[in-house]
Each structure stands twice: as structure tokens, then as C-alpha cells.
């Protein structure tokens, strides 16, 4: 892609991000209270959001695959399958992530949306998340995957 086209494409990703940030905020999925309510099974709200998002995502992905849709550059869209390995990384890494999700009440997307909402303490949370990623990278050769 030449330079102006590349810049235009970045503008498109920025717009998709703005859209996602608005919808995330309006969905209330960025609320610590809503996450607590979800883990306590005391409302359908979060399950409805996640379930409906998956259904729409699923239908879209199936349509894209069956129609052999191409992206804006005319390239075929391929979605590489995830490597199962021993499976350890998925349940163990997932559990560690879940602990952090309930404590902060925010997964990575909502952390950024919360900063936009003026919840400034999510800035140190993001810095801590970057450090957590750094720690994983350093320990990776010694961890079961």
C-alpha cells in the first residue's frame, strides 16, 4: 500500500476504534459494577451483550468465509486457527486474566474507554498491564503452554 492509502487506512481503524469506544461506554460493559453483577450472576445484562456480540460475530465470520469475501485491498481474508498445544496456556492464562478482570472491573478494551471517560486511575492500570505483559514475555520460556 502506498503512503497516502496507508494513512487513510489508519484513519479507518481510528474510526472503528471511536465507534467501539462509544458502544462500549454506552453498553455499560466498562462499569466495575456491571462486571461484579455479572460474576455474581445477578443480571442478564453482560451475558446478553457478550452473547449477542458472539452471535453477530459468528454469522459475519461464516458469511465472510462462505462467500470468500475479500478485504479493501482485494486480498483474501484468512483467519488462522489457534494452536491448542497442551491447552495449559488457555485455562491457566485465562484464569489469571479473569482474576485481574474482576479486580479492576475492566478488560483491556474497557481500560482505554475508561481513560476516555475520565477514570484516570485506569492509566496506572494500563501501565501495570504492560508490565504484566513484559513479565510474561520474560517468563515465557519457563511456563507450560
Amino acid at each position: 500500500m502506498n503512503k497516502p492509502a496507508y494513512t487513510r487506512r489508519l484513519g479507518l481503524y481510528l474510526l472503528i476504534g471511536v465507534y467501539f469506544g462509544i458502544v462500549l461506554t454506552k453498553s455499560e460493559a466498562i462499569s466495575w459494577y456491571r462486571i461484579q453483577e455479572m460474576f455474581r450472576f445477578q443480571a442478564f445484562h453482560m451475558y446478553g451483550i457478550i452473547g449477542a456480540a458472539i452471535i453477530v460475530g459468528l454469522i459475519s465470520v461464516q458469511l465472510i468465509k462462505r462467500k470468500g469475501a475479500r478485504d479493501l485491498d482485494g486480498q483474501p481474508i484468512n483467519i488462522p486457527p489457534k494452536n491448542m498445544g497442551s491447552g495449559t496456556r488457555y485455562w491457566l492464562g485465562g484464569t489469571i486474566f479473569g482474576l485481574g478482570w474482576a479486580l479492576t472491573g475492566a478488560c483491556p478494551g474497557p481500560m482505554f474507554a475508561l481513560i476516555g471517560n475520565g477514570i484516570w486511575v485506569m492509566l496506572p492500570a494500563v501501565v501495570a498491564a504492560v508490565l504484566g505483559t513484559w513479565a510474561y514475555g520474560a517468563l515465557r520460556p519457563h511456563l507450560p503452554h
Binding site: 472503528i16 460474576f39 449477542a52 459475519s60 478494551g109 486511575v121 498491564a129
Partner: protein
Amino acid sequence: MMELLTGPWPWYVTGPLIGLVVPMLLLAGGKQFGVSENLRHMCAAAVPTKAEFFNYDWRGGIWNMTMIVGVLVGGAIAALFLSSGDPIALSDAAIADMSALGITEFNGLAPDSIFTLEGLSTVNGLIMIVGGGFLVGFGSRYAGGCTSGHAISGLSDLQLPSLIAVIGFFAGGLIATFFVLPWLL
């Protein structure tokens, strides 16, 4: 019309709108939805390290980091122009449980007693915000994805590893909710 936008948006509107991000990114450039990948890019770009995990060209993730700047801007737009300022309509059961743990106010997006600079300066606030953030970063890269990459993107593609990761997300969330938070709140 404006009240429709500033009032709460029901889950059956926001859920599908969130799901649409998956095809938007695929069609825009064959990109896969996954926010936590950015934590790795930020590390590779800004934190000195010799680890093999960060030895790659992070510039390939500029599109994703651009998107995440958009998420921040989108959050600000929603807060400034699309917010009624009313408290979230939580269930009575959730309010009762959280009140029993010592949460006294339910305005805004998170309790002010913890998610403010004053809260951050307490040991418990530090554990929840910085400790929790660290676990989110460590766990999402270990698991190879977060809520967007595994729960939404991965399950949309019927990936079994993603289902295992999502079960892990909930296991961890339940442990923190019922065994850790009662000590911290």
C-alpha cells in the same frame, strides 16, 4: 431523539454493535479483533527487553494501536455528549451484595472509594488497580487473547482454545469475586 442516545442503550442493541467490530476489521484489512495484542506491541516498542517474545516488528501492530486510541476518544465522546449522568440500573440483588461488602455509592462507572487517586494510594486500591492490571496483562498474553480476542473473536470462529480460555476467564473472575474481593473491599 437525543434522550434515546443519552439514555442507557439496551444489551440487544450494544451487543450486536460490538459484534460488528469483528467483520469491520476483517473487511478493512483482514485484521483480527484483539485489544490485548496492543500491550505486547507497547512493550516491544517502549520497554527495553531481551525476551524473544518481544523480538518482532511491532510496527505491524500500528493499525491496532491506532484503533485503541480511537477507543479512548470514543469513550470521551460518549462521556461528553451521550451521557445522561444517571446511575446505572443495576439489579437490586447486586446492589444488596455490594453494599454488604461496604460499597456505599453506585453513581458513575466504578466506586470512588477505590477508583480515584485517593483510592489508589491505599493498599487495597493498589492491589485492585495495579495488581489487577498486572494480572490482566500477564494473563491475556499467556492465554493468547482477552475478552475481545478469545470471547468475541475466537468464539465467533468456533475456536475450542478460545472456549477453554473463556471458561478460565470466568473461573478467575469467580475466584476474585467470592474469595479475594471480600478481603479487599
